[in-house]
C-alpha cells in the first residue's frame, strides 16, 4: 500500500467544532511534519515531530513511530482553518519526505 495514508480525504466542520486528522504509515518513520495549504497554494508549516506531542494554539499533533501513525487535532475550528492539510513523513533517507494525499478541510459558519 501507500507509504503514507491520510484520512479523511475531506472534512467539513462548523465553526467551534473539534476534529482530528490522521496519517498511517506502512513502515516506521523517523519524523513527521504537518502543513496547511491555503487557497492560494501557500504551504504553512504547522509541526515537525520526531516523537511525542506538540501543541500550538488550537492545534495539537501527536506522532507515534512505533504504532506508525500521526494525528493532527483541531480545536474550536475557525473559518481561516479551511484549506488542505498534509502530513509528510521521513522514512530514513533524510532528504526525502513522502506526503500523504491530503485532507481538504472546510469550516462553515
Amino acid at each position: 500500500g501507500m507509504p503514507v495514508e491520510q484520512n479523511p480525504p475531506a472534512l467539513s466542520l462548523y465553526e467551534g467544532a473539534d476534529s482530528g486528522l490522521r496519517c498511517n504509515f506502512s513502515t516506521t518513520m523517523k519524523s513527521v511534519q504537518w502543513f496547511q495549504q491555503n487557497h492560494r497554494g501557500r504551504l504553512i508549516t504547522l509541526f515537525y515531530l520526531a516523537q511525542g506531542t506538540k501543541e500550538n494554539g488550537r492545534l495539537k499533533s501527536t506522532f507515534n513511530s512505533k504504532e506508525r501513525y500521526s494525528t493532527l487535532h483541531i480545536k474550536d475550528a475557525q473559518l481561516e482553518d479551511s484549506g488542505t492539510y498534509f502530513c509528510a513523513a521521513d522514512h530514513n533517507a533524510g532528504a526525502k519526505l513522502t506526503f500523504g494525499g491530503g485532507t481538504r478541510l472546510t469550516v462553515r459558519p
Binding site: 497554494g41 504551504l43 508549516t45 515537525y48 498534509f86 532528504a95 519526505l97 494525499g101
Partner: protein, 115 residues
C-alpha cells in the same frame, strides 16, 4: 530573518518550449533545497533535492532537471515541456545534517500551465 522567493509566480507555456523556474533563499547559509511538484488537486511529489552547491539528487525525474549554481539558488528547468508538466511547483528549504530531515519551509510556488 530568512526569506524564500520563487519566480515566476505563474507561467503559460507551449508544449515543446523550454522552461526555467527559480528559487532564492536569503538569510540562511548552506540550506538543503528541494523542488516539489503538485498536480491540481493532488499531493506533493518531491522532484529534486540539494544539500550543497553543485550537487543535486533526483527523486523523480519527469523529464526535468535541476541545478544549484549558488548556495542560495535552485533552478528547475527543461528544454521541452510536456502537457504533463502542468501543475504547481514549490521550492522549499530546510536545515539539518545530511540524513536528517528537518522542518521544511516552502516558497509561494509557481503555477505552470502547458498548452
Amino acid at each position: 530573518a530568512q526569506t524564500i522567493h520563487q519566480w515566476p509566480v505563474a507561467e503559460i507555456k507551449a508544449v515543446g518550449s523550454p522552461l526555467s523556474l527559480g528559487c532564492t533563499i536569503k538569510g540562511k547559509s548552506s540550506p538543503n533545497l528541494y523542488w516539489y511538484w503538485q498536480a491540481t488537486g493532488g499531493t506533493l511529489q518531491q522532484l529534486f533535492y540539494s544539500i550543497t552547491v553543485g550537487q543535486v539528487e533526483s527523486v523523480v525525474q519527469l523529464n526535468l532537471s535541476a541545478s544549484r549554481p549558488k548556495d542560495d539558488q535552485f533552478i528547475l528547468s527543461t528544454e521541452k515541456l510536456l502537457l504533463s508538466h502542468s501543475g504547481f511547483y514549490l521550492c522549499a528549504w530546510s536545515l539539518g545534517d545530511w540524513g536528517v530531515a528537518e522542518t521544511l519551509y516552502f516558497g509561494s510556488g509557481t503555477r505552470l500551465t502547458v498548452l
